[in-house]
C-alpha cells in the first residue's frame, strides 16, 4: 500500500504544550499536505510543503519535510483545547490522487 502513516496514532497533551506528529511515506512525492478533521466530518487544509522545501510555518504550525527519510512532521506550538482534532498528512506522488494517512488523534486537555 502507498498509504502514508502518521505517528503516533493518538496523542494527549496539556494545554500550552507543544504537539508533534510525524508522517512517513514510501514513494517520491511532489508535495505533502497536512489537514485537520474535527468530529469525523470535513477536512480543513492546514499547510502544503513542496518537495524542494524543508520547512514551512503558518501561525503556530511548523511543518518540516525530509525527503531523504521520506518523512514529515507537524509541530503545533502552545496548543489549545480547540486544537483537539485528527490530523492527516496527504501526499502527491506522480499523477495519482492525494494519498492520505490514517491520521493522528490529538487531544488537548485544558
Amino acid at each position: 500500500s502507498q498509504q502514508g502513516e502518521e505517528d503516533p496514532q493518538a496523542l494527549s497533551i496539556q494545554e500550552g504544550e507543544n504537539a508533534t506528529m510525524n508522517c512517513s511515506y514510501k514513494t517520491s512525492i511532489n508535495n505533502l499536505q497536512w489537514y485537520r478533521q474535527n468530529s469525523g466530518r470535513g477536512l480543513v487544509h492546514l499547510i502544503l510543503i513542496r518537495s524542494n522545501e524543508r520547512e514551512k510555518h503558518s501561525g503556530r504550525l511548523r511543518v518540516t519535510l525530509d525527503t531523504s527519510k521520506k518523512s514529515s512532521s507537524l509541530l503545533i506550538t502552545a496548543s489549545r483545547a480547540a486544537d483537539t482534532a485528527s490530523y492527516f498528512c496527504a501526499y502527491l506522488s506522480g499523477n495519482t490522487p492525494l494519498v492520505f494517512g490514517k491520521g493522528t488523534r490529538l487531544s488537548v486537555i485544558a
Binding site: 498509504q3 511532489n30 508535495n31 499536505q33 489537514y35 469525523g40 466530518r41 470535513g42 477536512l43 480543513v44 487544509h45 502544503l48 492527516f88 496527504a90 501526499y91 502527491l92 499523477n95 495519482t96 490522487p97 492525494l98 494519498v99 492520505f100 494517512g101 490514517k102 491520521g103
Partner: protein
Amino acid sequence: GAGVSQSPSNKVTEKGKDVELRCDPISGHTALYWYRQSLGQGLEFLIYFQGNSAPDKSGLPSDRFSAERTGGSVSTLTIQRTQQEDSAVYLCASSTLEGLGLSEQYFGPGTRLTVT
C-alpha cells in the same frame, strides 16, 4: 464565499437499496474528488473528475459504485444495492485547475451513510 456542500448530511438506508449522494463544489473549481472514510480510518480515494477529461475511477471499490459530474459542476455518487460495509462518511472535495493535489483541496462536511 460558499464552500463545498454535500447532501444529505446523513442517510440511513436498508441493505439492497440504492442511494445517491450529492456534491456541490466551489464555483470555478474544475477538479472534484470523492473519498470514503470508515470509522476511525483515513480517507480512501474513490473517484476524481478534472474538467472535461475522463474521470479517474481507479478507487471505486466495486461496480456498484458510480459517479457523474454534470456540466462540470455538481456531482452525484451512486451506490447500488447497498451493503453494510458501505457504511461510512463520504467526503467530497474540490480544487482549482491544478488539481491532483498540486493545490489544496477544499472539503465538504460529508454524508454519513448507514446501511442497516
